[in-house]
Amino acid sequence: MKLQEYQTKSIFEERYGIPTVEGAVASSPEEARAIAEKLRSRVAIKAQVLVGGRGKAGGIKLAENPDDAFEKASAILGMDIKGINVKKVLVVKAINIAQEAYVGVVLDRKRKCPVVIVSGEGGVEIEVVAKETPEKVHQFPINPCAGMRPYKARTIIGKLYDDQNKIKAGAKILMGLYKAFIDCDASLAEINPLVVTAEGDVLAVDSKMVLDDNGLFRHENLAALRNLDEENPAENEAREAGLSFVKLDGNIGCVVNGAGLAMATMDLVKHFGAEPANFLDIGGSSNPEKVVTALKIITRDPNVKVILFNIFGGITRCDDVANGLIKALDEFKVDVPILVRLTGTNENEAREILSRANLPMFTTMDKVVSEAAKLAS
């Protein structure tokens, strides 16, 4: 789950003592003007969206005075950035930048520990720096048992600065950033750029955090920050029902259990010359309600010409899926053909349930997918 910049900024500042740029979030030009009046300074107006490249898209503007802030905020609010409508702007004091750097913490699946990444090239996309000038990106795996120790933080920040005061200030920020990463169950915590101002202060000018969904159960306050209006409504509905759903452009609706089998099913749909309408994993331990929701979401897509079930039961019981399918068909009408392949745990019970509803049942994945591809063409 991605957090907005203003959300991360306040977490970094209030809970982890990371100095950021003074400012506040606004949902209207009037609010933006009021914030600028309070700040008594030139301000930067920054679109709050969860996609990268907002600066290039015109989503960040400088304003000279409160009236200008009103104008610039009017221009940015409502703007479309990569398909996302801007609903909020962050209004912060404009600062005099002397030096920009990058500092981030991520989880490294290979080394099985958090890794701190720093670079003297800040304010640009770190992926680009890593690709073009990998020697300018420094990585430090952190022993999870030791955690982030002050000496380590000073060593890491020493890659960025020579001046002892800046190293001290930067190390304190890194200690806070690492703590935020661990405390919040983040998969990424990032400051880009970390700025040294003309006055010599070290500040987080842009703050970003991505939280791991698996950790949200123990962070109710963070889970409540989810930015629903920037996510696909069907994907939200699916998540609430415990389904994993991604909308695609094809015409074969897929209901599968397990991410690997769901991807393999999509691969097979393409192999037979058709295109999947979605990725959908009903997960393990499925109850019939999940299947009802899955069908509701899929049938809402007007592109779908045929629906394909590919279930190999393990922890998912085939009879649960069959019951869900029957329940869904009782609740609402499905106008497109449904092809079902169910095998594995409680397969015989499922077969019986489906035969009562006269639904054809396939035995292999190749057969059900090739038949679906034929019907969809």
Binding site: L107, K112, F217, H271, F312, G314, G344
Partner: protein, 289 residues
């Protein structure tokens, strides 16, 4: 022989009184697995399908001689269950089925298991089966057949799909391991491949990978450097839209975007045949033997 579990495996089920725990305890018993104990805190004295329930793992192990645990408890309690399992004297193998464990918990758990010398399989995995000997997991036992092919997979249900086709083609299995799809897992491809390489019962290995990370690329290198048994592979997600799961900062560290194309190329470069669709695997495997 076989890998990690065999006829001497004695299982304790953590979370045995839950819906899934009870259901799959029956499945394991029906398969012939020696399920000797269950654990649910506060439910000591109950029985589930004839299996005695204890309050804690250490007591269950002490009273029954269990050497392997399978964990079915919900994610909120799974971290604790994982530590408890590895802390019990005599524990050898722990299989964690639970999905949704925070990855930062797994970072510490991984080190704890290394320290204790306990083999962890999973989390978020379907478990492990040595057909005809023992099943410790949720895999549908009827599709497996005892034989000489080792199977290792990041996926659950896709493994069943592949095993089913292997069995239909007459290719039985020595051991099938579902290593799980999470970022931090106890047993990875390298661990499984080296175990299969030294297992006298295993003659060939089927590896099922998917997009994300670089485990498959490392497996390809390992196969080239350390294995003389034939390996065949399938990679799921060849048509998956990019940007799933892996952040870009993660990709920087891995030095790769983790696409199916990269992984397939890595295997082909070292002479490992890669199936285009899962149903091609049995023929490819049979040819390599």
């Amino acid at each position: 022989m076989s890998v990690y579990v065999d006829e001497n495996t004695k299982v304790v089920v953590q979370g045995i009184t839950g819906r899934d725990g009870a259901f799959h305890t029956k499945g394991m018993l029906d398969y012939g697995t020696k399920v000797v104990a269950g654990v649910t805190p506060g439910k000591k004295g109950q029985e589930v399908h004839g299996v005695p329930v204890f309050n804690d793992v250490a007591t269950a192990v002490e009273k029954t001689g269990a050497n392997t645990s399978i964990i079915f408890v919900p994610p909120q309690f799974a971290t604790d269950a994982l530590y408890e399992a590895a802390d019990a004297p005599g524990m050898k193998v722990v299989v964690c089925v639970t999905e949704g464990i925070p990855p930062l918990d797994m970072v510490n758990i991984y080190d704890f298991y290394l320290d204790k010398g306990v083999r962890l399989i999973g989390p978020n995995c379907p478990g492990i089966i040595s057909p005809g000997k023992s099943k410790v997991g949720i895999l549908p036992g009827n599709i497996f057949k005892q034989g000489n092919i080792g199977v290792v997979s990041r996926s659950g249900t896709l493994t069943y799909e592949v095993v089913d086709s292997l069995t239909r083609a007459g290719l039985g299995q020595s051991t099938c391991i579902g290593i799980g799809g999470d970022q931090i897992i106890g047993t990875n491809f390298l661990d499984a491949l080296s175990a299969f390489q030294i297992d006298p019962e295993t003659q060939g290995v089927v590896l099922i990978g998917e997009i994300g990370g670089t485990d498959e690329q490392e497996a390809a290198k390992f196969i080239a450097d350390n294995m003389d048994k034939p390996v065949t592979a399938f990679i799921a997600g060849q048509t998956a839209p990019p940007g799933k799961r892996m952040g870009h900062a993660g990709a920087i560290i891995a030095g790769s975007e983790g696409t199916a194309a990269e992984k397939i190329a890595a295997f082909k470069n070292v002479g490992v045949p890669v199936a285009k669709i899962p149903s091609e695997l049995p023929e490819l495997m049979a040819k390599s033997l």
